[in-house]
């Protein structure tokens, strides 16, 4: 197999949740640059339209699908219908949409806990189940990449109060391993990426207060940037990772190695 073919993704259909901005848009763009047709899923239609237009301007075939994955059980069947009708069977599912909420554990509101769990854990499960049984199991192939977080590998730094987020991302990591075991025999690969701190709308407030400390304890001495997830997502979506499943890839400047 030639080197180009190892990373080849031309014509593959990728669905990226939380794809209208931040890390999701970065990964959608990377997959598009490698030839994928990209379905972006997000809640806000205006942000989706902007992301779709931006990708199309780069020659990438993309379409936005507005839906609220907080209501995954209700909305996912119609979402998958719409994506399959537009692009055909989904080859690559990137479960990226996520939410966080900061409050000390003793004061943490039930509603915030439920909201974080619902988007970060329930939605990847419901969407993987639907895409798996409709598009992947019948064709005996598929790539699922769950975007967990370095926060799923350990607790929090002093002054950080994100117990639901850390808990949900650890759950997503073991969801990844377990689904890899169950669906490996169907030829489906399931892996996770654990980004460290990347500036985004979600992390902005936190990075204002702890950004310098994060950089100081990151071996590569910087936060994640606009290109840093592109290699990992293309690698895990392509044949280059054809014998890798159930794995968790930290992309965090080495912070989790300390």
């Amino acid at each position: 197999m030639g080197v180009q073919q190892l990373f080849e993704l031309s014509g593959r259909v990728a669905l990226v949740t939380g794809g209208s901005r931040g890390l999701g848009l970065q990964m959608a763009q990377a997959l598009g640059e490698m030839g994928c047709r990209v379905a972006l899923v997000a809640r806000k239609a205006d942000e989706l339209a902007e992301a779709e237009a931006g990708l199309k301007a780069q020659g990438i075939e993309a379409a936005g699908f507005a839906c609220d994955l907080q209501q995954a059980t209700t909305v996912v069947p119609a979402l998958v219908d719409a994506v399959v009708a537009r692009f055909g069977d989904i080859d690559i599912l990137v479960n990226n949409a996520g939410a966080s909420w900061a409050a000390p554990a003793e004061d943490y509101p039930d509603a915030a806990w439920r909201k974080v769990m619902s988007l970060n854990v329930d939605a990847p499960f419901v969407l993987s189940r639907e895409v798996g049984r409709r598009c992947m199991i019948p064709r005996r192939r598929g790539k699922i990449v769950n975007i967990a977080s370095a926060a799923g590998l350990r607790g929090t730094a002093p002054g950080v109060h994100t117990i639901a987020y850390n808990t949900s991302k650890a759950a997503l990591i073991n969801f990844t391993r377990t689904l890899a075991c169950e669906w490996g025999p169907h030829g489906i690969h399931v892996n996770a990426i654990c980004p460290g701190f990347f500036p985004s709308k979600m992390s902005a407030g936190l990075l204002d207060t702890i950004g310098d400390a994060v950089i100081a304890r990151t071996p590569l001495r910087r936060l994640g940037g606009d290109e840093d997830l592109k290699g990992a997502i293309v690698f895990l979506a392509s044949g280059a990772s054809r014998h890798i499943s159930g794995q968790v890839l930290p992309v965090d400047g080495g912070a989790s190695a300390l």
Partner: protein
């Protein structure tokens, strides 16, 4: 290429080491080494292979690849080999270290200490020696990185009789973290950790004369989520990814390539 876009090419440029990247491949004549060398040469990387003299004789690297005989058990040979690399290139951009081997399965209670030493030295001390000697060359290189080789055995010991190998491969994982911490941000250091790969290694390693008790690939495959043993070519993409710009924000990590058996 008839694929659309700007796309493909731009994407690959972000992912793969650029043409002309200078890579030392230690253990480059083994099964995984040969697959990597062929792919890296096709990607227009510059290569030097280090391996045992008998391994080079048995499986000579392709034309255009400099082969240097080196037994990584011996400090002086590692120093001399990396000295030759320095004389050849003046610097180097990546080390891919595939050196490692084991012997016949032996339970600890019957394990001679010489056998322990040989396996641990050949698998872990060799990684230390190669790292120490290549660091100055990498520091003078472009976007430098190292990739060492651990194993599923480094995290999960699924068969008795491999204590020194399992201990050494676990050591590689933490050596990589230590090197990553020491060398950041200048040099990135990561590892690949293959599971059972269908090479001569199943009989001890390309350079080894001893024959191991054979693992039956078909029987083993039934326990792997992806239902097959690894092939040398499975390790090529991960190695290229880890020495390339696509992993620029990764260091200190071990990437397991085993069809999902350690999950």
């Amino acid at each position: 290429m008839n694929s659309p876009a700007a796309g493909n090419h731009a994407g690959l440029l972000l992912l793969l080491p650029p043409a002309g990247t200078r890579v030392v491949v230690a253990g480059g004549c083994g099964g995984i080494g040969r697959a990597f060398v062929a792919a890296a040469q096709a990607a227009q990387l510059e290569l030097v292979v280090l391996d045992l003299e008998r391994s080079i004789a048995a499986a000579p690297p392709p034309p255009g690849v400099l082969a240097i005989a080196c037994d990584a058990l011996h400090e002086d040979q590692v120093q001399r080999a990396l000295g030759e690399v320095g004389a050849h290139w003046g610097a180097c951009d990546a080390l891919v270290n595939l050196v490692g081997y084991t012997h016949e399965r032996t339970p600890v209670e019957r394990l001679p200490s010489a056998q322990w030493d040989d396996i641990v030295d050949g698998t872990l001390r060799s990684a230390f020696l190669l790292s120490r000697e290549v660091i100055p060359l990498l520091k003078a290189g472009r976007a430098p990185s190292m990739v060492h080789t651990s194993s599923t055995f480094g995290v999960r010991v699924s068969m008795p009789g491999y204590a020194p190998y399992a201990a050494a491969k676990a050591g590689v994982i933490n050596l990589v973290r230590a090197l990553a911490t020491e060398l950041a941000p200048a040099v990135r250091v990561n590892a690949v950790a293959p599971g059972v790969v269908d090479t001569a290694f199943l009989q001890g390693g390309t350079g080894q004369q001893e024959k191991l008790e054979r693992i039956d690939p078909a029987q083993f495959a039934a326990s792997v989520p992806l239902r097959r043993v690894g092939q040398p070519s499975d390790i090529v993409g991960p190695l290229l990814f880890l020495i390339g710009p696509g992993s620029a924000y990764m260091t200190g990590q071990t990437l397991h390539i085993n069809g999902g058996i350690w999950s």
